[in-house]
């Protein structure tokens, strides 16, 4: 099968998946009793006002009609309007997606950049000093609650040491954000050659990125170590040693043969971290998609919640698609089916 056909087919399989997600989130929220009418109408509303709002929102129609209308709208790219922001949910999310992706990219990138070499090194000498130290550290990274880690980091690096800027957003209060091109202050600042803004954006990124990197590196270390250990005891490596290949060649071989499972794992990591992202964004007042979704859930903004869940599903699907493509490029055995 050619590569383009594979891409088309993979992309087509996304559609029923997303339909399923739309159905489930819609039903869960309706059945779960998230009713915005009470909050919208306020405490002094009369029954007539209640009914009016209900009719306006279309909530008086039977459930299946509501679902069909919603699905039809989603297909046209209309995710509804958030009553919190009074703006289309899609616009809200598009604005925030880049902000979250920026944090996720640097955080998981740094986590993988630390986690993979550390895991490999630990595997080459199992139960050595390095292995034992990193095992304890990764266990710590596993068990520390994310929001607590974020708060402690703010306390230590902002309040006590004053190394980091206050955790209120993505850029200093006194600095004008650069013109929006991508949505990331750092990149926009660099593009517009506004060095001060870019620098401020960078300093604001550091703490949440490190926080996310710690949380994501811990499982990557553990998994990489396990994967590499398995490859090390495989017949391939034993045969390579029997062939007297130099240690460097053998290590390269181990790395290459571990690459696919490690990559797949990092892919699942990325999709699994969205929950953590919400907490980190909340603690650092990041204002990204995670915080938006969390807020929507807490406040009962059901159109936003539906949109948020749909966006996360789409994100997972895209991540796995990218992983599949990379795996296909480095793995001669992949069948593309």
């Amino acid at each position: 099968m050619s590569f383009t056909r594979f891409l088309v087919r993979r992309t087509l399989t996304v559609i029923p998946l997303l339909l399923g997600v739309v159905f489930i989130t819609f039903m869960l929220i309706r059945v779960g009793g998230l009713d915005p009418v009470g909050q919208l109408a306020g405490p002094t509303a009369t029954q007539a006002e209640f009914d009016m709002i209900r009719e306006e929102l279309g909530l008086d129609k039977p459930l299946w009609q509501q679902f069909l209308i919603y699905t039809g709208n989603v297909m046209q790219g209309d995710l509804g309007e958030s009553w919190l922001s009074n703006r289309p949910v899609l616009d809200d999310m598009l604005e925030r997606a880049v902000i979250s992706l920026e944090l996720l990219f640097w955080g998981v990138g740094l986590g993988a950049l630390i986690g993979i070499p550390v895991g490999l090194r630990a595997a080459f000498r199992p139960n050595g000093k390095f292995d034992q130290t990193t095992r304890v550290l990764s266990l710590l990274g596993f068990s520390i609650p994310t929001y607590w880690l974020g708060l402690v980091m703010i306390f230590v690096f902002f309040y006590l040491l004053d190394w980091a800027p206050p955790a209120i957003g993505r850029i200093g209060l006194m600095i004008f954000p650069p013109d929006t091109v991508t949505g990331s202050y750092l990149i926009d600042g660099l593009l517009a050659a506004e060095w001060e803004a870019a620098w401020s954006a960078t300093t604001h990124l550091i703490l949440p990125v490190i926080c996310l990197a710690i949380v994501s590196a811990a499982p990557i270390i553990k998994q990489t170590r396990a994967i590499a250990l398995e490859v090390l005891s495989s017949e391939t490596v034993r045969y390579a040693r029997a062939c007297g290949l130099p240690e460097r060649t053998v290590r390269k071989l181990v790395f290459r043969n571990s690459a696919v499972p490690i990559l797949t794992f990092v892919g699942t990591e990325v999709t699994g971290l969205v929950g953590t992202m919400s907490l980190i964004e909340y603690v650092f007042a990041w204002g990204g998609l995670g915080q938006y979704g969390l807020n929507a859930i807490v406040r009962g903004d059901f159109t936003a919640v539906q949109g948020y869940v749909l966006a996360l599903a789409l994100f997972s699907v895209l991540v796995f698609l990218v992983v599949d493509i990379i795996v296909h490029l480095i793995e001669p055995r992949s069948e593309l089916s």
């Binding site: 495989s234 017949e235 391939t236 034993r238 045969y239 390579a240 040693r241 029997a242 062939c243 007297g244 290949l245 130099p246 240690e247 060649t249 071989l253 290459r256 043969n257 480095i330 793995e331 001669p332 055995r333």
Partner: protein, 331 residues
């Protein structure tokens, strides 16, 4: 001087159990044998007898908790046990080449077979890559891979088991080894392919003047392809000698029962099975390890037997060497 001289080789698995007590499995106990240049030596014995472990000990491929605790291995006059790891590594795949049991899973799945052949040649012999490439094609030709130029671009998973085994043999030949160790080279293959591979290896040893060690469960293979035989039991070579001699006049009760329990013998009714379990390597019986299963066993067998010569190059480790009644093994 022989090409390979192994003297009293002892390999133990030393580990700690759950109570932190040291446990020792005596996997190889005073293994001694010689191999002349250009000869083929066949190792036979049941699973766990130490055949593969002997090969791994020789090549320094033991993995913890296995450790050589005594003895010497002289290859071409060099002591392999005393040799530093890097030097030994340089020798492996170069002068001592190995062919292993599962060729398809042993080859590097992410490298084309031609590149793997080049890689092993570059690692040991070096020189221009084009020369290595040429040699790779020659060796693929020599092991009977059709259309080498095309096949060298194949991935390991695209090969059949027999073809992959030929690639492994080509890998072994790349650096012109003096010794080829074939550890159950045909166990995973079809019977018809088995014969092809063994014929090929036998032919190549003659053509390239290599010595070969074949490790197998199959007495037929040893009878057919080797000059010498070594029968292993519980980490010891219980009987060794020229193949004809040993098959004509098996001396050790274990060898006799092995020969008696071949399917052909059992079918014509003259055979016998050797009952019982292989001995526990953590807790070997005193004296002769076979004594709990041997019908000839007497009180004297509780003391360690010595190695006795019973013919030209024919040795047996039994208290009753040369004194047991002809024919019939333990019933």
């Amino acid at each position: 001087m022989s090409l390979l001289e192994v003297e009293n080789l002892r390999t133990h698995f030393i580990s700690r159990d759950i109570d932190n007590q040291i446990r020792v499995a005596k996997a190889l106990n005073d293994v001694s044998f010689r191999l002349e240049a250009g000869k083929v030596l066949g190792f036979v014995g049941e699973t766990g007898a130490g055949k593969s472990l002997t090969a791994q000990s020789i090549c320094g491929l033991l993995r913890p908790p296995a450790r050589i605790v005594g003895g010497s291995v002289l290859f071409d006059g060099q002591d392999l046990i005393e040799m530093p790891q890097e030097e030994l590594n340089a020798l492996r795949g170069d002068q001592i080449a190995m062919v292993v049991q599962n060729p398809r899973t042993s080859l590097d799945p992410l490298t084309r077979i031609g590149d793997q052949l080049v890689r092993i040649h570059q690692a040991h012999t070096g020189g221009p890559v084009t020369a290595s490439r040429g040699r790779a094609l020659d060796m693929m030709q020599a092991v009977g891979i059709p259309d080498p130029a095309n096949r060298s671009n194949a991935w390991p998973h695209e090969l059949s088991g027999g073809m992959a085994q030929r690639v492994l043999i080509a890998m072994a030949l790349m650096n012109n080894p003096k010794l080829l160790i074939a550890d159950e080279p045909t166990t995973g293959l079809d019977v018809t392919v088995q014969a092809q591979i063994l014929d090929l290896m036998k032919g190549l040893t003659e053509r390239f003047g290599m010595a070969m060690i074949i490790i197998t469960h199959d007495l037929g293979i040893v009878a057919h392809y080797s000059d010498e035989i070594a029968v292993m039991f519980a980490g010891t070579i219980v009987e060794s000698g020229p193949v004809r001699e040993v098959f004509a006049k098996p001396d050790h009760p274990y060898t006799r029962s092995l020969i008696a329990s071949t399917p052909e013998k059992l079918q014509i009714g003259g055979g016998a099975k050797l009952g019982g379990q292989p001995p526990d390597l953590y807790n070997l019986p005193s004296g002769c390890p076979l004594r709990t299963r041997c019908t000839f066993a007497e009180d004297v067998c509780a003391t360690p037997p010595t190695r006795k010569q019973i013919g030209g190059g024919h040795y047996s480790v039994c208290h009753f060497s040369g004194a047991l009644p002809e024919g019939g093994g333990p019933q």
